[in-house]
């Protein structure tokens, strides 16, 4: 399994990367390569041109304030996982990152790459959707900020247009009275989950919201009723059957994992 031929550019700055993307609308961004290179190796994708952002040092930055965390496009998943300050402001990131693949994959894979890839079974898009994250996108036309709820369009399809580069994603902090949790079930440790739930619970009002992964074409965010939230979730998800699980089993998991996620979020110190 070898990738098909492509042209390779290695810009040193965001401006150069954007210029290269503007000049060639068929070019694809190469970040950690942990999703794109398997697709090339299996010849499921054959972009004529890769713009490799691994040398754009300015994109390798995490900014943490009391309001949230801004993660640059070259920040590896393993790096953010070890960032105590970011985990404190956004505990959901700290909970979700260890569920993404394996440590060796996270050493290369980027947080932003996972969001740009837009896999509905991935953890980080669900966290982004739940928290109301904002995706910052640069192109020759300038910079635009796209809210997560409109960024994810379909499986592996996002609001990104040709010529655009995601430069960072902003994850807002949750209010102090809000507990958060992520739970999922996968066949083997490190596999993509059959179903997963990221949840926030306001401990003062009891209001609960959850994002579902693996059971809808895009991360599905639901405001859960106090009465039978698991049943409501099962009725709302739209799972597909595949070699790993039936649709009915995934629907069942949505109920069970909703219960577990809400309990864990409520109990969080």
């Amino acid at each position: 399994m070898k990738p098909p031929p492509f042209r390779w550019s290695s810009p040193g700055t965001t401006a150069e990367a954007v210029a290269l993307l503007a000049a060639d609308p068929r070019a694809k961004v190469l970040a950690g390569g942990q999703s794109l290179i398997p697709l090339l190796n299996m010849r499921l994708a054959s972009p004529p041109h890769l713009v490799d952002i691994n040398r754009v040092a300015e994109l390798d930055a995490v900014e943490v304030t009391g309001d949230g965390v801004r993660v640059g496009a070259l920040v590896r998943q393993a790096h953010l996982e070890r960032d105590e300050a970011a985990r404190k402001v956004c505990p959901l990131l700290g909970d979700a990152l260890p569920l993404v693949a394996h440590p060796v994959i996270r050493n290369r894979g980027t947080v932003v790459g996972s969001i740009a890839h837009g896999d509905p079974a991935a953890e980080l898009p669900a966290v982004a959707a739940l928290l109301g994250a904002t995706v910052r996108i640069a192109s020759a036309a300038g910079v635009r900020d796209v809210p997560a709820d409109v960024f994810f369009v379909a499986p592996l399809e996002t609001a990104l247009r040709p010529g655009e580069l995601v430069t960072s994603v902003w994850f807002p902090a949750v209010p102090p009275a809000t507990g958060t949790a992520v739970v999922e079930l996968s066949r083997r440790h490190g596999d993509y989950a059959l179903c997963g739930v990221a949840a926030t619970v306001d401990r003062e009002t009891g209001a609960a919201r959850a994002a579902y992964l693996g059971v809808a074409p895009v991360p599905l965010v639901l405001d859960l009723p106090a009465d039978d939230p698991g049943g409501y979730a099962a009725a709302s998800v739209d799972p597909e059957a595949d070699i790993h699980a039936t649709a009915a089993y995934r629907r069942h998991l949505a109920t069970v994992l909703t219960r577990r996620a809400l309990a864990a979020a409520r109990d969080r110190p």
Binding site: K2, F6, A78
Partner: protein
């Protein structure tokens, strides 16, 4: 159309090595075919099996999911870099041999390099940390128990000062400027005349 070639320098086990490769050359193939370092094994070639794991600036990564052109400038360590210059086994290798952490050996280079990365970051790992680290590598022979035992033993040997740095004798050494083109390995796995990787011509 002839494919564009890139002249690259890879710093492998402290030695600068040059090669001429197309952009699509995976690091795993560059190591094996262009540099003749066949210790790094290519298994699934989509990131699942872990056989091709090498250290990139000290961190274990899949060499099958990294372009050789992207890896320029980084310090790469392969399983060939574990043993000392005199061929003495590295403590991690000794631990795997002592504890029967391998049988057929196909997955072993990946486990050794994953262990090197783990013990470099966490010299006294908990059982949970060991399992979490090793869970990304597949082994069809051992049933894993002897592998986790080997990792614990490797940590003990390293703690007892038997062989120094988990990442190998060249750990921490700055990549030097290229001095000369290093000779390619001879033998059955040497790159074919004219270079290239079997299968690459297929489109």
């Amino acid at each position: 159309m002839t494919e564009e070639q890139h002249h690259i320098t890879l710093h492998v086990n402290g030695v600068p090595r040059t090669a001429t490769v197309p952009a699509r050359r995976l690091l795993s193939d560059a190591l094996r075919h262009d540099l003749g370092l066949t210790g790094t094994h290519a298994g699934c070639e989509h990131g699942v099996c872990g056989c091709c794991t090498v250290l990139l600036d000290g961190e274990p990564v899949r060499s099958c999911l990294l372009l050789a052109v992207t890896a320029q400038g980084a310090a790469i360590r392969t399983v060939e870099g574990l043993a000392g210059p005199d061929g003495a086994l590295h403590p991690i290798q000794r631990a795997f041999a002592e504890c029967h952490g391998l049988q057929c050996g196909f997955c072993t280079p990946g486990f050794l390099m994953t262990t090197a990365g783990l013990l470099d970051r966490s010299p006294a790992p908990t059982d949970g940390e060991i399992e979490e680290s090793m869970a990304g590598n597949l082994c069809r022979c051992t049933g894993y128990q002897n592998i986790t035992t080997s990792v614990r033993r490797a940590a003990e040997l390293l703690a007892a000062g038997q062989g120094g740095d988990p990442a190998g004798p060249w750990a921490g050494e700055d990549p030097q400027e290229p001095v000369a083109e290093a000779p390619l390995a001879a033998g059955p796995y040497a790159p074919p005349p004219g270079g290239g990787v079997p299968g690459e011509a297929r489109r």
